[in-house]
Symmetry: C2
Subunit: 205 residues, 2 copies
Amino acid sequence: MKNILATEELNTEELILRAAKKIFTHKGFEGARMKDIADEAGINKALLHYYFRSKDKLFESIFDGVLKSFLPQAILILSSELPLFQKIDRISEYYIQSLSKQPDIPIFVLHELSVNPYRLIENIKEHGMDLHLFSQQLQSEIDEGKIRPIKTAHFITNLFALCVFPFIGRPLIMGMMNLNDTEFNSYVLERRQIVTETMIRSLKV
Amino acid sequence: MKNILATEELNTEELILRAAKKIFTHKGFEGARMKDIADEAGINKALLHYYFRSKDKLFESIFDGVLKSFLPQAILILSSELPLFQKIDRISEYYIQSLSKQPDIPIFVLHELSVNPYRLIENIKEHGMDLHLFSQQLQSEIDEGKIRPIKTAHFITNLFALCVFPFIGRPLIMGMMNLNDTEFNSYVLERRQIVTETMIRSLKV
DNA sequence: ATTTGATTTAACCAAACAGTCAAATATACA
DNA sequence: TGTATATTTGACTGTTTGGTTAAATCAAAT
């Protein structure tokens, strides 16, 4: 009988998903080997196909899971009742903190979306990524003269670019700036304030 | 005899390089098939191995070429004698214009660097990516009270994030903002001004 | 015309790969 | 305990892939 009392004990499916996430996010779909995932999970290769019939099926579980754990939070914060500047702070806080723990996610998602853009469509429709409410708030603040005029697309781009780019460009930044891992971590910790400051200053009238 | 008079006639090596660049940048190293590259170039698969002994060799030609055609320009502009704000404008102009013509480059480079970070090291050392001069200029402007204090790493990150992210996040942006190809192109054209404005406003005292 | 060297091809090969299957083992329940 | 069901494995398969090779073709010099 398995030791179901030990809290750190994971069942096989969770073991596979955890291993698959690590390998897929690190190597991408094409670069990942089913053997690598099996080894990482400490199980037999055939067992992967017992739980997830194919590499594609396993990948979609991971990819969908990752999208669902990152995108909806943005919509949630942006569509909330919070003041604009607080939203900026919340987004930057949430994404920089989450991505610090899983720094491979952005490049993984964006690479797979680049190779296979249709993947996103279903997911977006499914979650009803609606930015209308936020667009209205932004326009109100502009109309009231509280911030400078800016289109929603550019606002969103600026905010996410500033939050996410450090993780996407990590090897580039570490190389150009001559940072080691410790120094890079300090740099990332500073980003949260930099992002909100940069965004808010650029919006002030 | 080949028609060497026709200017549009490319020799086989150039044909291969052009095809390989298209396939590699679109699919990544692992996703690219030598057969695909051969087909794209309109030649036989064995001919690839005649000109470039292996997939790795061919890939390195492409990857090095891409790095050399993008990174040095940044160092050149940043290390020049131009005023700070003009440098921002030049960088944003150059990168947004170049990447509009080759939008797959950023995600390609950053994905490959993520899977294989050591690739960059040689290239950076080789080109002497030195940002010391620029750091001094930035510090001078800060000391003279002309701009708000900011570390070089964050300045560079912000500038490149704002320039490059639209291309990295293209499918995401098109999906969330409901843009078609034409609308995305207009959006990219607007980016140049947005980037310089955002950067400069965030730096003003 | 013949030789020489560079270019191109079709056919082939070994390794790596995702995926399969029958047999073995563990688990639950009667 | 015995039996049915769920889980796990080692050995296997067919296909795809990067890479090779020997022969054919072409271009130019002798």
